[in-house]
């Protein structure tokens, strides 16, 4: 028996595209769940990361806490939350948000930290207020690293969001759990392939975004032809 061929056959079986358990529905649910979790985690992690990065305060605490968050087993946390709030979507959203906070937080504060202090001093020297420094200097310069954090978080969520199906009728995890318990490996593998494809798609989108958010000044600041400037000077 060839499981990979069976999984591909499962993916192209038109009967899997109808009803409440249709592949299309599950993909959209999975995507929606992933993006909403990303929003939840961002709302918490980005402002906190900016604050830490701008002020330099609470860094040790944030690094330690984020590290501890990373080590929390998601299924355990999911079960724990579900035992207090019951089954449904709350527990998966909470558990996956906790999973996504550390990379976003790290992206946000390292983005600020990585900025050359001379740049900020220069901004201050030309008379920018603290608010202007954050808005016009620190924020744009930190975006590529922040975007990297969001990208890493998105991949973790999209892969782990299969666990949402542990306590709710949602997402691609339904195919994995159903396939596992029914010994339907074609379905399991088919579901996994869909998760992988979704992850690659999101990765592609973030790669483009990450390029787009590099400020024009930074992108132009590193000419490939190192003699270009000198030639201009000589003229």
């Amino acid at each position: 028996m060839n499981y990979f061929a069976d999984a591909v056959a499962w993916l192209f079986d038109p009967t899997n595209y109808v009803g409440s358990n249709a592949i299309g529905n599950r993909v959209l649910e999975h995507l929606g769940f992933t993006l909403l979790t990303l929003v939840f985690a961002s709302v918490i992690a980005i402002p906190l990361g900016f604050f830490i990065g701008h002020t330099g305060r609470g860094r040790g605490l944030a690094v330690g806490t984020a590290g501890a968050f990373r080590s929390i087993p998601t299924l355990g946390l999911l079960t724990l939350v579900a035992l207090s709030v019951g089954i449904g979507l709350t527990a998966p959203y909470a558990a996956l948000t906790v999973l996504a906070i550390p990379p976003i937080l790290a992206g946000a504060y390292t983005g600020f930290e990585a900025i050359d202090r001379a740049t900020i001093d220069a901004a201050r020297a030309v008379g920018m207020s603290a608010g202007q420094i954050v808005r016009k200097v620190e924020l744009p310069l930190s975006l590529p690293l922040l975007m990297g954090g969001l990208r890493s978080a998105t991949l973790q969520i999209v892969a782990t969001a299969t666990l949402a199906a542990y306590v709710a009728d949602i997402g691609l995890g339904r195919f994995l759990f159903t396939g596992l318990k029914n010994l339907d490996y074609a379905q399991m593998l088919g579901g996994s392939i869909l998760v992988i494809l979704l992850a690659l798609l999101l990765e592609g989108i973030f790669t483009v975004l990450q390029k787009l958010v590099v400020p024009r000044g930074v992108a132009a600041g590193r000419p490939t032809d190192i003699w270009a400037g000198f030639t201009k000077l000589a003229r």
Partner: protein
């Protein structure tokens, strides 16, 4: 395939160079998929036959099954056998090939579920009929010893309050329910021969939908039932939750579920002497015993060894 997902995730977060990342992912996926391409992805392929003077006792990844396996082990040891415990192997599809290959010698099983695993089209019937069918369905290298009176089987379970509200006694009486009846449980429940489709076909019971709760009748399932997030689920009849959370397992006069009596499944290495030890246990083990053993594990958090030792001492068989 969980392995492949995990692997992919770790690689993505590692933030290597993009080219390296892509090639690593591609190679990893190719390796993972090649591994999946043929054969049983769960089979270990080891199938090593155990040492001649040692009996290997296995158990499912189910706490109650582990307690029974521990009782078997301690009883065999008390009677001069050397026991190698390989507990919490997993579910039937994982360990059955191991038993057939001679890697495990003694395994606590459940008559109906084992029969259905071996013979998907089994007829069912009374507990004795199932035992007879099971003996015929086993492969030549395996046999079951005497079954115990103790049973731990699937059931359609509701809360006591819900049962009183609609005067529910047996499964057919679920027809009395006038509110939407949400079924919850592991995703297999949805497709099992006794699942929602059977309720509709056999008794005309309409269900409102299915909510997956993948902890196999564990605390999340019980909480969902008690919270009224679901109204109907499958809980094992020997679960201590039935008593402690005031649940009612609806009676099953039509044998919709197969009777699941505890029975030792053994390999050819189990001698008559070892068999008689295990048969003595089966003769003594009642369903009430099983519920209280489970309760000691779930409610008192005692170890399987301690629970098994206490039961054997009380039963005073050897």
């Amino acid at each position: 395939m969980e392995f492949a997902i995990m692997k992919g995730k770790r690689m993505f977060t590692a933030k290597k160079g993009r080219l390296a990342l892509i090639s690593v992912v591609a190679v990893g996926a190719a390796v993972a998929l090649a591994g999946c391409a043929s054969g049983d992805p769960l089979g270990s392929g080891s199938g090593a036959v155990s040492a001649a003077d040692t009996l290997v006792v296995g158990s499912q990844d189910y706490y109650s099954n582990e307690i029974i396996a521990e009782i078997y082990s301690q009883a065999l040891e008390a009677n001069g056998f050397t026991v190698d415990r390989t507990f919490r192997i997993g579910q039937r599809e994982v360990y059955l090939p191991e038993l057939e290959a001679g890697g495990v010698d003694v395994f606590p099983e459940y008559t109906g579920s084992l029969l259905q695993a071996l013979e998907p089209n089994a007829v069912g019937g009374t507990s004795d009929a199932i035992y007879t069918e099971l003996q015929a369905a086993l492969p030549a290298t395996l046999r079951v010893l005497d079954k115990a009176a103790a049973s731990d089987q699937n059931s359609w379970t509701v809360t006591q309050a819900f049962a009183e509200k609609y005067n529910l006694t047996d499964i057919a009486s679920l027809k009395n329910v006038t509110e939407p009846l949400m079924v919850g449980g592991t995703s297999v429940l949805e497709t099992r021969p006794y699942g929602p489709a059977a309720l509709k076909a056999k008794y005309g019971i309409e269900t409102a939908g299915f909510t997956p709760i993948e902890d196999g009748g564990g605390p999340l399932t019980v909480k969902a039932l008690v919270d009224n997030a679901i109204q109907l689920t499958n809980i094992y009849t020997a679960s201590p939750n039935i008593k402690s959370d005031k649940l009612v397992a609806l009676s099953d006069p039509d044998n919709l579920f197969f009777a699941d009596n505890v029975v030792p499944l053994v390999s050819e290495k189990v001698t008559d002497k070892a068999a008689s030890v295990l048969n003595k246990i089966s003769a003594a083990l009642s369903t009430e015993d099983l519920v209280s053993l489970n309760s000691e594990s779930v409610n008192d958090q005692k170890s399987a060894e301690a629970i098994a030792a206490a039961w054997l001492e009380k039963a005073n068989l050897f």
